[in-house]
């Protein structure tokens, strides 16, 4: 009797627990029964700016929707992996996504993005820098909402440029800054680590030399994609890459340098030049304020347009940033697009620029006095965005980027005459599914 009674009581407890769990899960899944719809926005990690914008838009919505944020992994590649796995399983818990532009064609081609309504498309592309619109477009259609547009500029220490006698009011080349750094015993920072940032650097070099990584995108058949890695421009890009990495200005950790470690190197006493995103400036100001960096260091910071590969050809700086995608499996795509319009408003972009150091895609923001005060180099960033060249647009971007990283890393081992050929063979074999990556 006793064991049986205990068994029943255990079953009862287990049943009650199961009911509670089920009820809780159902409540979490459902909407609020006529109340505000909850939109989930998957954001990339930042300094809290996107969460604040979500709160602002929730307030502005007047109860029509509430935006909740969910944090994605640190790097762009892992963000893509998580989102794709969820979307491939038709996960309807995602409404809005912060997407890195080079992965947008893959999401669009797979049917993971809800179509952008015409009126929204018109509103969100008005007075927006070209590179951001291009980065949100696939197959001649706008598939995402331009949010913030990042670009790399050439950061330099005014004292170092002056000591080297370099006229920074004129465009400079990679050769010039490496020579100046060697003369002054300082460093040239670039992202030489085997990661997406290496492809960003290589793409900027090849585009600056007048070439491109993909010459024929062939979206339907990846095996037919044609690469421009053996062109003269690609050889020239490889030459510059190797020249920088092999120089005394590269520093000991060049082959493992990412954006953060490049910024740290630039903050050190032998910092001279670096190509990097605008976040490095608020980062240095914050460190000075926190007392971990001498305040004279950020005062010495200045920015100009990305270095040229060839003296006579304008540079094509990297384009990055984040655009907003609305999931095709969202239960409220209309509300999600309404929320996206709020998120990318000029006020929110200005707020994000000033507080998080992430430049706006809207041109109007660059005239905002608050932005100009926080970022004296804002006009340079805007000009850089106009010159910027996006990375190759293809649904197979991951294969191409990882193939480039495998072939061009470490940058000091690049052989300008050979590496392009090897990279082309590898990437073509991978796209034809004949090789591992």
């Amino acid at each position: 009797m006793r064991p049986a009674a205990r068994g029943r009581s255990r079953r009862g407890v287990a049943g009650a627990a199961a009911l509670l769990v089920t009820a809780g899960t159902l409540a979490a899944c459902g909407s609020d029964g006529g109340g505000a719809s909850t939109l989930t926005w998957y954001i990339n990690p930042d300094a809290g700016g996107q969460a604040e914008i979500a709160d602002r838009c929730t307030e502005a919505a007047g109860g029509r929707y509430t935006i909740e944020t969910a944090l994605l992994p640190r790097d762009a590649a892992s963000q893509r992996e998580q989102l794709i796995r969820r979307l491939a399983a038709n996960d309807n818990s995602i409404d809005l996504m912060s997407l890195d532009p080079p992965f947008i064609p893959e999401f669009a081609q797979a049917g993971f993005l809800a179509p952008v309504p015409e009126d929204v498309a018109e509103a969100v592309t008005e007075d927006v820098v070209d590179s951001a619109v291009e980065g949100s477009t696939w197959d001649d259609e706008l598939v995402a909402v331009p949010f913030w547009a990042n670009t790399q500029v050439l950061w330099y220490r005014e004292s170092v440029a002056e000591a080297a006698g370099l006229d920074m009011s004129e465009p400079v080349t990679w050769e010039q800054i490496v020579q100046a750094a060697e003369e002054t015993g300082t460093l040239v920072g670039a992202q030489g680590t085997r990661a997406e940032s290496l492809t960003v650097w290589f793409n900027a070099l090849i585009e600056s030399a007048g070439g491109e990584i993909i010459t024929d995108p062939s979206p339907e058949d990846p095996a037919q994609i044609e690469l421009g890695l053996t062109s003269d421009a690609a050889v020239r890009a490889a030459e510059v890459m190797q020249m920088v990495a092999e120089s005394d200005a590269a520093g000991a950790a060049f082959s493992t340098s990412n954006e953060d470690s490049t910024a740290t190197g630039f903050e050190s006493e032998n910092g001279g030049f670096q190509v990097n995103y605008p976040f490095v400036y608020p980062r240095a100001l914050g460190a000075a304020e926190a007392g971990t960096l001498d305040p004279s260091v950020p005062e010495d910071y200045a920015a100009t347009i990305y270095p040229r590969v060839d003296e006579d050809e304008p540079a094509a700086p990297p384009y990055g940033g984040i655009n907003l995608g609305v999931s095709a499996f969202s239960e409220s795509p209309e509300l999600a697009y309404e929320a996206a319009e709020c998120i990318v408003s000029d006020e929110n972009q200005a707020y994000y620029f000033v507080t998080n150091g992430n430049p706006a895609s809207s041109t109007a923001v660059y005239d905002d006095p608050e932005v100009l005060e926080a970022f004296p180099m804002a006009p340079v960033i805007r000009e850089s965005l106009e010159l910027a060249a996006p990375r190759p647009q293809t649904p197979y971007y991951n294969e191409i980027s990882v193939g480039i990283q495998r072939s061009y890393h470490p940058p000091s081992a690049v052989d300008p005459g050979e590496t392009g050929e090897q990279a082309s063979e590898l990437i073509n074999a991978v796209l034809a599914k004949e090789d591992l990556l």
Binding site: R85, A88, A110, A252, A253, F254, D435, L436
Partner: protein, 319 residues
């Protein structure tokens, strides 16, 4: 009299005796065993056999996660692609290197720690065991980050603390070269899993009969002779089980590589290769084939240990 009756009994005993034993008490024990282990066995089937079969099935297809409509049967073609690719063999080499180095060092260190735990004062033993177990309780990703930060050229302390060592200076970029990166990966693995091997060896040490040690001592055996002639032979089974478990574990190394180098400079392991094809490249078919080959390698290792070295897994339970 007795000589006429005994021989037939002797002949039949080996065959009939065990059968008779199985038919009564052992049979009911076996049944009870199945009843007790059955649910766990079913759960194991569900969580291990099902994914293995699913992966084996997927490995026969050309299947990209973002393009399910164009999925097609390709037979063993994925396996051909893998086995003819130099990257696969390079990854096998890296994995084997990490496995051999880490398991060998862990065995020696683990044995030393087990001896310390056995010989420690009774009052110190619980504290000592807890202290030795701490690294094993740390999540591998966290441990990998800790080791990466320690050896990082900018934020790490290793370069400044050990600059007096030959080959180490302020400018040593540990993750910029294949062998130094593998060294740090191996160190992190050794730090993390030596406690596991030492616990298994501690159980083996506890099983060595004290009476044998005393007899050897009486016979005048030195400490070293007692170790080689008495302790080690008596805990051979425990050592082999510890080696088997750690080798299987080490062969699947992933976390430390993912965090520290992300596969750069030729540090990709087989697990990392499976991750890159399946998760990053979204090629479910090709990635599944890599996973199946990894599984077969692990099965081969387990089979070799059990058959070649005659590891008796029941020794791990102290039977």
């Amino acid at each position: 009299m007795s000589t006429t009756t005994l021989p037939p009994t002797k002949k039949t005993e080996p065959k009939s005796a065990p059968k008779a034993a199985i038919s009564d008490r052992a049979r009911s024990e076996r049944k009870l065993g199945w009843l007790l282990a059955g649910p766990a066995f079913l759960v194991m089937l569900l969580v291990t056999a099902y994914p293995i079969l699913q992966a084996t099935y997927e490995s026969l297809f050309d299947f990209r996660l973002t393009d399910p409509e164009n999925r097609s049967f390709v037979g063993l073609s994925n396996y051909w692609v893998i086995l003819t690719d130099s990257l696969w063999w390079q990854s096998i080499g890296v994995t084997a290197f990490i496995t051999v180095v880490t398991v060998a060092v862990e065995l020696v260190l683990g044995f030393a720690l087990a001896l310390v735990m056995v010989k420690a004062l009774r009052a110190l033993r619980p504290v000592l065991r807890a202290a030795i177990l701490i690294p094993y309780a740390v999540i591998t990703v966290v441990s990998a980050f800790a080791w990466q930060f320690a050896f990082d050229i900018q934020s790490g302390f290793v370069n400044s603390w050990f600059a007096w060592l030959p080959g180490v200076s302020e400018n040593t970029d540990w993750f910029g070269d294949r062998w130094t990166a593998l060294l740090v990966i191996c160190l992190a693995e050794i730090w993390k899993t030596t406690p596991f091997i030492s616990l298994l060896l501690l159980a083996g040490l506890a099983q060595v009969p004290e009476v044998l040690q005393e007899a050897a001592k009486v016979d005048g055996a030195t400490r070293w002779q007692r170790m080689w002639r008495v302790t080690l032979p008596n805990m051979k089974a425990a050592i082999m089980v510890a080696l088997l478990f750690r080798t299987l574990d080490a062969f699947r190394v992933f976390d430390s590589i993912f965090i520290m180098t992300n596969g750069a400079n030729g540090t990709e392991s087989v697990s990392f290769l499976a991750y890159r094809q399946t998760i990053a490249r979204l090629e479910i078919g090709l990635g599944s084939a890599v996973s199946v080959l990894l599984f077969l390698a692990v099965v081969l290792i387990a089979f070799s240990f059990i058959k070649l070295f005659r590891v008796d897994l029941s020794q791990a339970r102290g039977e």
